[in-house]
Amino acid sequence: MQQITMGQAIQQALSEEMRRDPGIFIAGEGVGKSIHESPVMPTYGLLKEFGPGRVKDTPVSEAAIAGLAVGASVMGLRPVVEIMFNPFFTIASDQIVNHAAKLRYLSGGKSTFPLVVRIKTGAGIGAGCQHSHNLEAWVAHCPGLKVVMPGTPADAKGLLKSAIRDDNPVIFIEDMMLNFVPGQVPEEDYTIPIGVADIKKPGKDVTVVTWSKMLGVALKAAAQLSKEGIEIEIVDLRTLVPLDKETILQSVRKTGRLVVLHEATRTGGFGGEIAALVAEEAFGTLKAPIKRVAAPDIPVPFSPPLEQFYIPNEEQLIQAVKSIIG
């Protein structure tokens, strides 16, 4: 085991996979020569090892970057392209939503598009709403895309390897703040299957379903609640599409209570999907109403106290948990 951050874990996944398969290349704005020349960044050192033929620094052209992945993947390569910030997904979204997601279907299953789009996301960097905006629900709403959002360095490494080896388009969304949070990561080659949630902490009282950076918030809240004798069970989805419905339902059937926690804004967020799933398929086991803890319906503000107000925290989760325990 090694103690590394998510950025370093992603770097390991990329470099190990690129060594394994010469059909993998990476492209994006500053994936080679970067303004952030730091070992915690996900593409650090790759240009030096693999050269400019496989590590393609691109113009500032999100549509072209995403289209590059679509066209190269249908030709049998395995592109891993980077969209620098989640809000810039909107510029790339024609290629991702209308093309990457649909072209296999439109070919009647004849063509495959084994591509990965890595997108950086998350509030907390003080860059404001045009750099910070969690849009995973938009992506998850487009049939034809797999959506992965790891919350730990170990999950990020194993899931990215699976994403690269997957024959379908995978949107891999990385929270930027996690690039600085260390965790235990196995050194050997391993994969984590896409579509399998993980119970990060077992508990009997309330199920908390979460993903990405909010996993950390859930774990902090769990520690505090434990002191008061309340044991939450944390289900880390890791993958939004395909969704591991069974793990969610099993946990809710056990605890009888559900709180969904995500950083994205509340209205239309993916939390609503989880709540609906449980209401449809496990309603009879619920002992209390389902609660959602999410960001308020505003763009991410800049000023530090405003930005911190925006990001859901453990206090809000604790309150939500207590409100349904009674």
Binding site: G71, A72, G76, N98, S107, G108
Partner: protein, 318 residues
């Protein structure tokens, strides 16, 4: 250019014309062809000329006016027709219809109806050809309207930067929707846009199949020599509207008539007759053969089964 190639271009254009005339006819019969129908009638010289200069392994990425491109690239006519009907035997099992036809068997990898949506993908296919050191190129067919899309500029800039083997064909058919080119841009010749990317832009008579063919042969050689992408603006005209439901009220009648008198098929046919490479009898024979081919495609589509509704759930993921 050898005589065999001239025949091939002629036959390809005629096949496309008869195929589309049949579609125009079928669209008038209620309930026959579901959905929209956008035709390339009058623009056959671009399709035949460009694809006639390509090898089977070369990739094409095309757009909503794709019938000519796909036929000239060698797509199976019966499967095209069945797809247009929405039948299970269609080349895409009824998932795509006329607007999104994909025929990977002949490396027609994508038809997109998002204007300008194909060119970033063409950058990707051309990149793959370069990456894998294949001796092949990509052609992207775009309409004049697409040159106003941001994707067009992003993609051509990237293709130029990386010296990709990409030929961009602008089929300038005068209209984008109901707007004439001069109503939507001050650029008179769209080939001039190539200057912004540091690549050559050439103007070609898009109603002259041989001129298009020769320009493409040269462009392809340039790409294979590693000299990077090129933009060819083929000046032509669309005889039909933006869909068969378009009444074309915005297109002056005399303008349509003037362009119809410059029919690309008639033009090549006259040349072939003059050069005595074709006799009047040959023309009748070719015509009969093509009509038969189109009829048998229609019959195949008509007799093919509908997909079962549940088949809609297939082919999303591998």
């Amino acid at each position: 250019m050898n005589n065999q190639k001239k025949f091939e271009l002629y036959k390809n254009m005629l096949l496309t014309r008869r195929f589309e005339e049949k579609l125009t006819e079928l669209c008038k019969i209620e309930g026959k062809i579901p959905g929209m129908m956008i035709l390339c009638t009058g623009q056959e010289a671009v399709a035949a000329g460009v694809c006639g200069a390509l090898e089977i392994d070369d990739v094409i990425i095309t757009n909503h006016r794709s019938h000519g491109h796909l036929i000239a690239k060698g797509a199976n006519l019966k499967e095209l027709m069945a797809e247009i009907y929405g039948k299970r035997t269609g080349c895409n099992k009824g998932k795509s219809g006329t607007l999104h036809l994909a025929v990977p068997e002949v490396n027609a990898l994508c038809t997109t109806t998002v204007v300008g949506g194909g060119i970033p993908i063409a950058v990707g296919t051309a990149f793959a050809q370069q990456y894998k050191k294949q001796n092949q190129i990509t052609v992207c067919f775009l309409g004049n309207g697409s040159t106003d899309e941001g994707s067009f500029h992003e993609a051509l800039n990237m293709a130029a930067l990386w010296n990709l083997p990409l030929i961009t064909i602008i089929e300038n058919n005068v209209y984008a929707g109901a707007q004439r080119t001069e109503e939507i841009t001050r650029v008179k010749d769209l080939a001039d846009r190539a200057v912004s990317y540091g690549i050559p832009g050439e103007i070609v008579d898009g109603n002259d199949a041989i001129a298009v063919y020769e320009a493409t042969v040269n462009a392809r050689a340039r790409c294979l020599a590693g000299e990077g992408p090129i933009l060819l603006e083929c000046k032509t005209y669309r005889w039909r509207g933006h869909g068969e439901a378009d009444h074309q009220v915005y297109q002056p009648k005399d303008e349509i008539a003037a362009w119809m008198s410059r029919c690309p098929i008639k033009k090549l046919q006259e040349e072939l007759l003059q050069e005595q490479l074709l006799s009047e009898q040959d023309i009748l024979n070719i015509e009969a053969e093509i009509v038969k081919e189109v009829e048998s495609a229609v019959q195949f589509a008509e007799e093919s089964p509908w997909p079962a509704p549940q088949e809609a759930l297939e082919d999303v993921f591998v």
